[in-house]
């Protein structure tokens, strides 16, 4: 197992390598220069030129790539053009926020989706099942940004239960409760689509499991339905669901950009969007790489969990 994990981690390297080359190429193929070279019309061309020279933007792209790679291998992602800060610092400032949001959403999605999926499967074609089905499809079909605004209007403005946005009350000391109040709506919005998808997935996985021979065996042993479903069925049913989590990560990182904007959540999603528009190359590259690493790690964790849950998988 350990050696499997090590191998997988090593395997990440070429993937990350491929991603870095791809994104570098795309980034430089993009029309438009880094905003820093564009923003102020009054900067004389010589100053702009000097700026470009200083940032090494006049070198051939492969040279720039190699330089970037060299720096990254030393742990240096460079300095943001637009924000003038070390990129690593920028990301480390915000990454925890994004991770918190994503983790909460995943958690929320899981604790809602799995029970609903199971109930839906065990009562196939019942009213409950139809209800869950329609509900989850609604979740799948609702645009994030719209849902976000709606929830703010209802829960923050009308009811005043939650703050409009942000991650904590400014000036207040840190408290779990305060953090939760800020977290709940964005996490919910980010989780909605995945929650729905996961419910569907759990349902079909459980349906599959429930028709398996070993479930019949469990029944023949005289166990009550609860025990049959939860002890013998669920663990098997969850195995394929686990892989979903790995696949959900990249879409979550993407979806977080919108949610972060709407809820003013200081995460890297919003930062990436800004960086893209400003052609802030070091930031774009760094976030892409962080996102990719996150995804790959997510998949790895999913695979490992898979192996943990399913004794048939042996590495």
């Amino acid at each position: 197992m350990i050696s499997y994990i090590i191998k997988r981690v090593i395997m990440m390297i070429p993937i990350l390598f491929g991603i870095s080359i791809l994104s570098f190429a795309i980034m430089y193929a993009a029309p438009g220069k880094p905003a820093i070279l564009n923003l102020d019309p009054e900067i004389p061309p010589e100053v702009r030129e000097a700026q470009a020279e200083r940032l090494g933007l006049n070198d051939p792209i492969p040279v720039q790539y190699m330089r970037w790679l060299g720096n990254v291998s030393k742990g240096d992602f460079g300095t943001s053009y637009a924000r003038k800060m070390p990129v690593t610092e920028m990301i480390l400032d915000r990454l925890p926020n994004t991770l918190l949001l994503m983790a909460s959403s995943l958690f929320l999605a899981a604790i809602v989706a799995i029970p609903f999926g199971v109930i839906s499967a065990t009562r196939q074609y019942s009213m409950t099942d139809y209800g869950v089905t329609v509900g989850s499809f609604l979740g799948l079909a609702t645009p994030n940004f719209w849902l976000g605004i709606m929830l703010i209007m209802v829960f923050s403005v009308q009811l005043g239960w939650t703050p409009v946005g942000g991650i904590s009350t400014i000036g207040a000391d840190f408290s779990i409760l305060d953090r939760l109040r800020h977290l709940i709506l964005p996490a919910l919005v980010l989780a909605t689509a995945d929650m729905a998808g996961l419910t569907r997935y759990t349902r079909s996985s459980m349906l599959e499991v429930i028709n398996q021979d070993y479930i019949r065996t469990a029944r023949a042993k005289g166990f009550r339905e609860r025990r049959v479903v939860y002890k013998h069925g669920l663990r098997n049913g969850l195995i394929p669901v686990i892989t979903m989590f790995g696949l959900m990560l990249p879409t979550m990182i993407g979806g977080s950009a919108i949610v972060e904007s709407v809820f003013n959540w200081p995460g890297i999603g919003k930062m990436f969007i800004d960086a893209t528009f400003q052609r802030d190359y070091p930031v774009i590259m760094a976030i892409t790489m962080f996102g990719a690493i996150l995804t790959v790690i997510g998949n790895l964790i999913a695979d490992i969990l898979y192996a943990v849950l399913d004794p048939r998988i042996e590495y």
Partner: protein
């Protein structure tokens, strides 16, 4: 490049004046916090390098400058005791500083600091955006602790407006090489020390910037204890935060006026902004190289209707490339009223006649072109489609196209200049010098990206900065404006209003057309 979104930023300038504040009967009270909504992340708190309004807003609170502009856009003294004493030849500016001005760390601000600050602009290693402002500045001399003298190589009538940059503390920054100053985060971001009314406390990326009152501010301690900027990424969220009382102050988009008007706990302050919006025609390209065509295009666009529909009527139709707020704005210029029939006639005169499909034609060429705007800007996008319809009514086919900002700039600027028409805006500097935009030498690499050429304008523009007398200079600039109004290289659309939504608990606010954080030291809260 050009500022499509905002003005070429100027340094802040603040000084207490007694006009324009609406005083309550109870008078100002000390204490309290105001939370401001802001839509961008500040980049730097160093006034020599800031380019964005989010940074400028904070800088205006932290730093103090020699002079500042008042809400009438006149320069008034701030750290200086008076406006500069200008020598006969117009080449020497002498200023006297208030005594006992302290930086936040308790050191006194002296003429040495002023020299230190302005010397940076002249330093060859300076990487910031303002070097161009000081081409005429030859040297800065410290006459005595409180007197400083600026020596110019040429007369520059606009030089006074350059004296509004925050003064940096020499004792903190003297050892930092100028080349490294732009990225010197220890100061620029983490611990900016100025002599302004508020002390920088804390900046949490993506969330807020906290400032507190500077007890030893030379003009007296501000009324407020604390000012907090809260960063918003989305206007809807910002407005809702205002609605729930989480913030007290925000810039209100015209589209949300109706909502804001329903708020009992707030008021809206509106004033013309120092900017104008326009459609720029590529003067190098047919058919826009024909002045009659440009005039006809302007006549075919119902600008009042545009103002009414997308600005909710809050703005004025523009007729010249200047702001009515400016002292250089002429009493009258040629105005083209909405007159589609007249436009058609003018076009016919220029050889454009309706073809079989109703679209104007000349020599077999259809009158069809692209109106470019940047995406993400809803107002300009809407202008694009409105203009499309208006021009369509007189037989011109205009196709709006949106481009991502970076790509857009690359396409319309040197060396590409690849566009027919662009919807853009200019935020104006305090000094009305039109050279940078309209002089034909600016076509090559400057801001004259529509390739406007007029010898008279070139000539007048070249001389205007040498004219020290403001009225005289206004006349010359007025002449330029008249030509530009007549020739319509742009179709000037409108002067927009800026709206500020302010909680009723905040008093003492003065609305400055250009500076958001104006005289915040006079603000106070009533709860």
């Amino acid at each position: 490049a050009c500022g499509g979104n905002d003005a070429p930023a100027e340094g802040p300038a603040e000084e207490p004046t007694e006009e324009g504040t609406e005083e309550e009967a109870t008078g100002p009270q000390a204490g309290g916090t105001v939370v401001l909504g802001t839509s961008g992340e500040p980049v730097t708190f160093n006034p020599l390098y800031s380019q964005d309004s989010a940074s400028a807003d904070v800088i205006d609170l932290i730093h103090a400058s020699l002079l500042e502009s008042n809400e009438e856009l006149d320069m008034i003294p701030m750290l200086a005791t008076d406006l500069p004493d200008i020598s006969e030849d117009g080449l020497t500016y002498t200023l006297t500083l208030n005594e006992g001005v302290l930086f936040h760390d308790g050191e006194e601000l002296t003429a040495e600091d002023v020299k230190f600050t302005y010397d940076i602009f002249k330093n060859a290693d300076y990487t910031g955006p303002r070097a161009g402002d000081f081409t005429e500045l030859e040297s800065v001399e410290v006459v005595d602790t409180y007197t400083v003298q600026f020596n110019l190589s040429e007369v520059d009538a606009s030089f006074t407006t350059r004296l509004g940059y925050g003064i940096l503390p020499q004792h903190i920054l003297e050892d930092v090489p100028v080349a490294d100053l732009e990225e010197h985060m220890d100061y620029n971001r983490n611990n900016p020390i100025g002599a302004g009314p508020f002390v920088f406390e804390n900046y949490v990326d993506g969330q807020y910037i906290e400032l507190s009152a500077f007890d030893d501010y030379f003009d007296g301690r501000p009324n407020l204890d604390k000012v907090t900027f809260r960063v918003f990424a989305d206007t809807n969220a910002e407005l809702l935060a205002f609605e729930t009382g989480e913030i007290d102050w925000m810039i209100l988009p015209a589209t949300e006026l109706a909502t804001a008007e329903t708020y009992d706990h707030a008021r809206i302050s509106s004033t013309l902004a120092l900017r104008y919006d326009y459609i720029g025609w590529n003067n190098d390209r047919a058919p826009f190289d024909d002045v009659r065509v440009r005039q006809a295009l302007t006549m075919a666009i119902d600008r009042q209707l545009i103002v009414d529909s997308i600005m909710d009527g809050r703005g004025e139709v523009a007729h010249a490339p200047a702001s009515p707020l400016s002292w250089a704005y002429p009493d009258s210029v040629t105005e083209f009223e909405y007159d589609p029939e007249g436009a058609k006639a003018l076009l016919e005169e220029a050889g454009w006649t309706p073809g079989a499909d109703g679209i104007l034609e000349k020599d077999g060429e259809k009158f069809s072109f692209e109106i470019l705007s940047n995406d993400g800007n809803v107002i300009r996008r809407d202008i694009g489609v409105i203009v499309q319809q208006m021009l369509g009514e007189i037989g011109i086919e205009a196709n709006p196209r949106q481009m991502e900002w970076g790509a857009f700039l690359e396409q319309i600027n040197p060396p590409n200049y690849d566009f027919d028409a662009v919807v853009l805006a200019w935020g104006l500097a305090l000094d009305p010098d039109p050279t940078a935009i309209w002089h034909s030498r600016e076509i090559e690499a400057g801001l004259n990206n529509i390739s406007y050429r007029n010898d008279t304008v070139d000539e007048l523009a070249a001389g205007n900065k040498k004219i020290v007398d403001q009225d005289e200079r206004a006349a010359v600039i007025g002449e330029i404006y008249e030509i530009l109004a007549e020739e319509q290289p742009y179709t000037y659309l409108y002067y927009p209003e800026q709206h500020i939504l302010l909680s009723n608990r905040v008093e003492g606010f003065t609305h400055h057309p250009r500076v958001n954080m104006y005289k915040v030291n006079e603000w106070y809260v009533t709860d």
